[in-house]
Symmetry: C2
Subunit: 396 residues, 2 copies
């Protein structure tokens, strides 16, 4: 067994990785209601003004504001209602001095009018309304283009589409949207000690229930990808090599767990020309990367850290995603020490402005992931943080 | 047109709503890899210890720690290797005084041994290792049950399943998990002014491109639900009434947009016996609720606020979800005034511990939703917040 001759600093390895990967060129044109959480493949330029016309913001009367200027409660102004618009209709009647057109919220403001008098502010008497208070020009009017101007960039390439983003696309007349194809991610789990289904007898005799596959599937889905599971492979050099080769051919990225250390049975790293192998992160030090393939740990907590520190950013690079991390500021509820030279991944429970480090240590302690909702990192040149110190938490 | 006689305070209306709704009884037993973001229907009690046996945390030699106590670099202890375990296998050889069993990471610790000497710490010479430094009892051993104890509650009912939660379920031997059935949510959009597809001519003559349907579909999906769109209905009392009745029969919850105000053409509220109608929230004041049906505004921003302030919590109640909101503390970059008596929903851009209020006002300004990533609320008895004041942001 060999040890790592040199641990690549976290950020240096991240740069090597991101420089090695290019954005996937393929895009998909999909209907709006399938676009939730997909990544925009192009800037969206508005083809229209929104609203496309000035419209009433309340139910009431389209008037010339000037006509109402003298109106007082003790000295009402009388205006004649010359037309009435029902929803979705419009009026071709021009609003001339001393006249008004009754309309509903959303209706197009007729020619000549420049304000809407709220229904409640007028006393109606036959075809005449008595105006008790003046309205200002533009009042109760949603101005043409006040939401979005024609030609304006509404959403940028790389944006992750949320419900409100899809709504604005619909309001601008789009029926489909161009998004990035989901990166295909092959997942290979290795280890002769692993079993896939509960077997008490086997467990009592040294076998371990494999749990990295479902975790990685979920993480890949969470971060824009389409996971493809290739199965659990025993520590057989030939089989693992074949699986990696096949997965590399069929995917944009390949994740292999359990093959990254230098143990006698850790084969995976022998099949991939690695750009780096062994970095300063902890847990997860023995990670390797090359040929669009990550050679990862077997321990769930190490795999989880390796995913968040490296694989997540690789997936974002493949689709050009922006703002894919939720980062918040928090104060530590207690001190978190760290060894110089290590880039620590520390699980925390974030709540109400405070981050509580999860004490349970060990790369095999899955419950430490379950009990956390985010992480902080401690760079190589830091000995850690003090109690009460402000830190950045990445939520997951 | 009538106005609201009384606006129900925000929290009072929320209580009326939540008291009216019960948890959906139906559950679904689904495979683990379909369970991402679903809501747990029961507590998960661990059927096993995890790990089920004490195992090696490193590659090396299982030893009796006592044997190594005298070991020094200038005075090594010699121990005889009596067996070798490869991954996934176990050894029935007892480790007796002066002996060791070679093993790999993850292997079950043989009888008699209580520590693992790291591979690198021993000099091998034939079937003898020379130990240069002592190891402590328990060192390099992952103890039985140290991750999860048999009988322990690992995840609680109402938990939203994340990748790591699914991983621990797999590691504990579960193949499926019992989750809440997704609430079925009928969506009805009303308004004669609405069109569903781009038509420049129609837009220029007063029509509006409907965009609430896709926004509500997305929001319902985001918060545990299964959206079902019933279409866009013109302001026709009979048609809207029939649609609401049908949707009520077929769904757990119904959302009707555009029928909540008291305008001449706002019909929806006439078909539902409302528990409240008109609350102090702004935007979105005219919201009504009764008979598992929300009567909502037509304006996108008002609909969005109504969803987050009311509908989201209703959906969470239906499935018993916990921790479904990401709440963070932030300092306001500028002052946010509010009128007494209003429960304000203020969109913000949260970044790096700071919340910047989105200035664009108006219930129709969808771009204000696009430019925000969360909201703050200002209760009825507050006149707002000062610049630099710490507030709670709910991220979306």
């Amino acid at each position: 067994m060999r040890e790592f001759k040199k641990l690549t600093p976290y950020k240096e390895a991240l740069s090597l990785l991101l420089n090695d990967l290019g954005e996937i060129p393929e895009t998909e044109e999909i209907p709006l209601d399938e676009a939730l959480w997909r990544v925009l493949a192009e800037d969206i330029v508005s083809p229209i003004d929104l609203p496309p016309f000035s419209r009433a913001a309340v139910d009431g009367y389209a008037v010339r504001a000037e006509d109402t200027f003298p109106a007082r409660e003790y000295n009402p102004v009388e205006i004649r209602v010359v037309d009435e618009i029902i929803a979705g209709e419009e009026s071709n009647t021009e609003v001339t001095p001393g006249t008004a057109v009754k309309l509903l919220t959303g209706a197009k403001i007729p020619e000549g009018a420049n304000a809407v008098l709220m229904h409640e502010m007028a006393e109606r008497d036959g075809d005449v309304i008595r105006v008790l208070r003046p309205v200002a020009p533009g009042q109760n009017v949603a101005m043409k283009g006040e939401d979005v101007r024609k030609g304006e960039v509404v959403l940028r390439k790389g944006h992750i589409l949320r419900p409100q983003d899809i709504s604005i696309l619909k309001a601008l007349g789009f029926r489909t949207v161009k998004v990035k194809r989901k990166p295909r991610v092959g997942i290979i789990v290795t280890g002769s000690e692993l079993i896939e289904e509960f077997d008490e007898e086997a467990l009592m005799h040294g076998k371990i229930l494999e749990s990295n596959s479902v975790m990685l599937k979920g993480l890949v889905e969470q971060y824009f990808g389409e996971p493809r599971f290739y199965g659990v492979f025993p520590d057989d050099e030939g089989e693992i090599g074949k699986a990696i080769e096949k997965a590399q051919e069929e995917n944009d990225l390949v994740l292999v767990t359990g093959g990254s250390a230098f143990g006698d049975m850790d084969f995976a790293h022998r099949f991939v020309k690695l750009l780096f192998h062994g970095t300063t992160i902890r847990p997860g030090r023995p990670i390797g990367y090359g040929e669009r393939t990550f050679v990862m740990s077997g321990y769930p907590v190490a795999v989880f850290a390796q995913f968040h520190l490296y694989v997540k950013h690789a997936l974002a690079k493949l689709v050009g995603a922006r703002n894919y991390e939720v980062k918040v500021r928090a104060r530590l509820t207690e001190r978190v020490p760290s060894q110089l030279g290590r880039y620590e991944f520390v699980k925390v429970w974030y709540e109400n402005g405070k981050a509580k480090p999860i004490k349970k240590k060990g790369s095999g302690i899955i419950s430490s992931l379950v009990e956390s909702n985010g992480y902080i990192t401690i760079p190589e040149d830091s000995e850690g943080y003090l109690e009460g110190e402000e830190v950045e938490v990445v939520l997951y």
